[in-house]
């Protein structure tokens, strides 16, 4: 055999398909990847440190900026964590609104995932169709909160405002049109043989490794592990809804794509139930203007974000501001398996792997 020399290629931080400021240092042997070193921190905004200088309600807008692709989900997690500290009961209607918003966020995030997966593999048009449908969700967010992307709609003790009259018809029409959208993605993206060939068997993650690395969310379920915090440890009112947790077997990129496709349909199912059960009433609990949890209270609250287990660990010192706040960011932990699943693959596979792990750099760098 000929002796060959390895060389490194820097994918990012400025590269078309790194979803932000991700930097992967790929050690290559020809077209094969020997090692991939993930460098993070290009989007670091010290969000956790900022929390220590903001009061509890003031911190809400910052959480929206963690996972900006599904901005209601991190806000929901934070609000519920603080509510857990205070022991506040959220009004029924607010709980339902929260579920609707959270699930729409999940769909928005997954739609962008499918679109960006398509464009990372070279199919530009696929992204545009996904974005087109995502825009409708964004419009709904604009109706309720006034902002499209970084909504900061939820508040400690409920949501900031009640749903406007236009929201429910818009949501219902989105649900009605959803099967058509899915059919289009199936035809253009999922059903494409080139895309299937690019994804099947690529970046395989086995269940044991996934658990060992702490992978969560759709990436974990693609390995065949039935673990969804909405089922395992229902927060909010998730125990009232009937939905299944989609699973796959192989844990490769293709399965990660399929799991998310299925998950969107389950989310639609949940939203439908929530819209049907939506009660009337208040949307915000009575919460004191100045929130001062007692000293020594610490709380860890986790939710199933669109990327995986999103947890908030908050320690109070009796003041208006948290003593320490830590975010368990699913993107960060999921990204850590990238070197493992990329090894032995080709250069083009690493792009597919990054795309299907679906990291959002705002969250992983924080």
């Amino acid at each position: 055999m000929l002796r060959t020399e390895q060389f490194t290629i820097n994918i990012g931080p400025q590269h078309p398909s790194t979803h932000g400021g991700l930097h992967v240092e790929a050690v290559m042997d020809g077209e094969f990847i020997v090692d991939a070193i993930v460098h993070l921190g290009y989007v670091h905004r010290s969000v956790e440190k900022i929390a220590e200088s903001r009061t509890y309600p003031q911190y809400v807008p910052y959480t929206s900026r963690l996972d900006y692709l599904a901005s209601h989900l991190p806000t929901l997690g934070y609000c519920q964590a603080v509510e857990k500290m205070l022991g506040v009961a959220v009004p029924e209607r607010a709980e339902y609104i929260r579920i609707i918003m959270a699930e729409f966020s999940r769909i928005a995030s997954h739609l962008l995932f499918i679109g960006s997966c398509a464009i990372d593999l070279g199919a530009t048009t696929g992204l545009i169709y996904c974005l087109r449908d995502r825009e409708r969700i964004m419009d709904m967010f604009e109706m309720t909160s006034g902002q499209r992307l970084i909504a900061s709609y939820m508040r400690i003790g409920g949501v900031s405002e009640d749903l406007p009259d236009t929201f429910i018809p818009a949501a219902r029409s989105f649900i009605a049109d959803f099967p058509e959208m899915i059919a289009e993605y199936d035809g253009l993206i999922i059903g494409n043989e080139i895309l299937q060939a690019r994804l099947k068997g690529v970046g395989r993650l086995n269940a044991d490794d996934a658990i060992a690395y702490g992978v969560s969310g759709p990436n974990l379920r693609a390995c065949g592990i039935d673990y969804d915090i909405r089922k395992a440890e229902p927060y909010g009112i998730y125990d009232r809804f009937d939905f299944t947790v989609p699973l796959a077997e192989n844990g490769d990129s293709w399965d990660r794509l399929l799991v998310r496709m299925e998950e969107m349909q389950q989310s639609i199912h949940i939203i439908e139930q929530a819209l049907n059960q939506l009660p009337e009433g208040e949307v915000k609990a009575k919460v004191p203007r100045i929130i001062k949890p007692a000293e020594g209270i610490e709380v860890y609250h986790r939710i199933e974000s669109s990327k995986g287990e999103l947890g908030y660990y908050i320690v109070a010192d009796g003041g208006e501001k948290p003593y320490r706040l830590h975010v368990r960011a699913p993107s960060f932990i999921n990204l850590m398996v990238l070197p493992m699943i990329s090894k032995g693959g080709k250069l083009q596979d690493i792009i597919a792997n990054i795309a299907t792990l679906d990291p959002v750099l705002g969250e992983s760098d924080r």
Binding site: P16, G122, G126, I194, R198, K346, Q348
Partner: protein, 345 residues
């Protein structure tokens, strides 16, 4: 209308000879005029094509595409060209300057050379080589070296990787490209493009050779580095592949050459399979334009629909699928010709 351009050429020769030039001298002048015409056609075509490509992409993505400058955004490309011309010309300090500079020039020269043998209408061919098809294939094969020069000269890993990939791809797809044309050549019994067009007077070769057309189309897409086979550029993986370090007009030359190649290959496809300039009612040169643009629209349609194929799949597709299929096609065609000849056709 039919002989519009021929008449122009004829009157030019008559006029030149009236000025006292020998017939050889007049031919030489005509040749130069023809070359200038080719360059003009290429440039205008590219301007139209880039606009068309963006429009097609826009329509498929439910957008309007460029629509600000001129009617339906027609002048957008011109504005872009001016922008590119005024851009700073950056040559990386570690680049091999001579190779870096010459690569785009050779690339465009080779692309323009392809037009010499293409029949653009009845009798409208600059040189009617008796080995026209072969000329096309062999000259087109030279462009691999230019990409290699670009990739090497840039002294950038992405560029080199892109160049290596595209060279590997182009060399492996040249074989099915040539093989798929062989079926047509066997039926026409000539390598000359004008003979091949003449042989399609009654029936287009796409009907006689459907498999050859499909394989030719796929191989041509790969040769053109387009659509699902755009390895040298491969934006999502290699940033811009072989062209990563190029800026301004040098980069634009690559772009120009790629579109020039696109027109040439589409014209070849319509000449070999779609009856060339044959067609009712309209003048022959309009027919070839229509057919060429139709083929190009299909290329664009494919590009904006499909994801990029993976490098190893690409290679194995060429060697394991396309080449056997084209070989079988040649075998079947040969047997068919013998059989029909035996039947007394």
């Amino acid at each position: 209308m039919e002989h519009f351009f021929l008449n122009i050429a004829h009157s030019l020769i008559v006029w030149l000879m009236g000025l006292g030039l020998s017939s050889k001298g007049a031919d030489l002048v005509l040749l130069i005029v023809q070359w200038i015409c080719i360059v003009a056609i290429v440039t205008i075509n590219v301007i139209v094509l880039i606009w068309l490509e963006r429009k097609v992409a826009g329509f498929m993505q439910q957008r309007l595409g460029p629509n600000r400058l001129g009617p339906a955004g027609m002048f957008q490309t011109i504005a872009d060209a001016i922008k590119l011309l005024t851009k700073e010309d950056i040559i990386p300090s570690a680049a091999d300057r001579i190779i870096f500079r010459t690569a785009p020039i050779f690339f465009i020269i080779i692309a323009v050379m392809l037009y010499v043998v293409l029949p653009m209408g009845d009798g409208m061919q600059i040189v009617d080589l008796n080995v026209g098809v072969f000329y096309f294939i062999s000259v087109a094969s030279l462009s691999t070296i230019c990409l290699l020069m670009a990739g090497w000269g840039s002294n950038n890993k992405w560029s080199l990787l892109g160049a290596m990939r595209s060279v590997a791809q182009m060399i492996s797809y040249e074989i099915p490209l040539a093989f798929s044309l062989l079926g047509v050549i066997m039926i026409a019994g000539s390598l000359s493009l004008s003979d091949i067009v003449a042989a399609q007077n009654n029936i287009w070769f796409i009907i006689l050779q459907p498999v050859a057309f499909i394989t030719f189309f796929i191989a041509a897409t790969a040769e053109l580095n387009r659509g699902p086979f755009d390895m040298p550029e491969a934006e999502q993986e290699l940033t811009a592949g072989a062209y990563t370090e190029y800026t301004g007009m040098r980069w634009a030359l690559f772009f120009l050459a790629e579109y020039t190649n696109l027109v040439a290959v589409s014209a070849l496809a319509s000449t070999m399979f779609l009856g060339g300039w044959h067609g009712p009612w309209l003048p022959s040169w309009i027919w070839i334009i229509i057919k060429t643009y139709l083929v190009m629209l299909i290329f664009m349609w494919m590009k904006w629909t499909f994801p990029r194929i993976r490098m190893d799949h690409l290679m194995s597709f060429s060697w394991k699928v396309l080449i056997p299929v084209t070989l079988a096609n040649i075998l079947v065609t040969g047997a068919g010709i013998q059989f029909l000849a035996g039947m007394g056709w």
